[in-house]
Amino acid sequence: MTKKEFLDGIREKLKGLPPNDIDRSLGFYEELIQDVMEDGISEEKAVESLGSIDEIAEQILSETSIPITQKPEKRNFKPLEIVLIILGFPLWLPLVMTVFILILAFYICACSILFSLYAVDFSLAATALFSLFSTFKFLFSGDILQSCGFLGTALVCGGLAILTFLGLNAVVKFFVILSKKLFDKIFKSRRNGK
């Protein structure tokens, strides 16, 4: 057995002790092996002279008053909990799905309302544009009254289009921020719960 094999073997046996203690113990035995080898004894013989790995590890462990540090245990589901989760799935699955579908439906509704409002906005803008076009058309053909009527329509529709556009943008912005907050909350609570 080489020095390295020997020391690794002891390290393995001392697992659970504070790392400082393990390093100190191994340092002592490494030094001993080196000193024995300096006396002209081969590495293998030097390692052999120290005794067996089990013996040494046992000696160190029995003399160490420091309590063995326990590795932090991962929280695992108990068998009963797993069984309950599986058995309860006809109950919780529809509930989860209902909540999910409700949220989805809400989003679809909100999106379609917004879409239709944008469509209204677009039609207002189109009306304004056509009215403006008609205003000039009747102005050149000499029908001042008609021209004035179309100018009024164009101005009203144009104004409304701009106002609704700005209003809708504000609503969309608010909506996006709100859903972002909602999702953050859901994920945060899940992370905290874990």
């Binding site: 340092g27 002592f28 030094e31 001993l32 300096e38 005794g51 040494i56 000696q59 003399e63 160490t64």
Partner: protein, 111 residues
């Protein structure tokens, strides 16, 4: 030898090996071997124990390009040897008493 008795003796022997001058693990074993049976695996726990009890201190000295740990006896360590010597006197008188008793018994039996 009784384990408890040997354990106590080993502590004193280890302290004795560093009483005159600081020493290192392998040298200490070599010094002790003619007098008391000691293995490398028993020395380390003893050194740890004595260090915790502040009977010795450890320091590293460079030797052949590596660090070697030297052990130095403290006042408390020296005191421990002295206490042991005193105690041993008591033990010796007890021993003499035991021996004497045996011989007395023998004499009685003979007469």
């Amino acid at each position: 030898m009784d384990i408890q008795l040997k354990r106590g003796l080993l502590d004193i022997c280890v302290l004795k090996t560093i009483k005159a001058k600081d020493s290192y693990g392998y040298q200490m074993i070599k010094d002790m071997k003619p007098y008391i049976e000691i293995s490398e695996s028993t020395l380390y726990p003893i050194l740890r124990r004595l260090e915790t009890a502040k009977h010795l201190t450890v320091h590293s000295v460079e030797h052949n390009g590596r660090l070697r740990k030297y052990y130095h006896i403290t006042e408390a360590g020296l005191e421990r040897i002295e206490t042991f010597k005193k105690e041993w006197n008591e033990i010796m008188s007890i021993y003499e008493f035991i021996i004497r008793e045996e011989t007395d018994d023998d004499k009685e039996r003979i007469s």
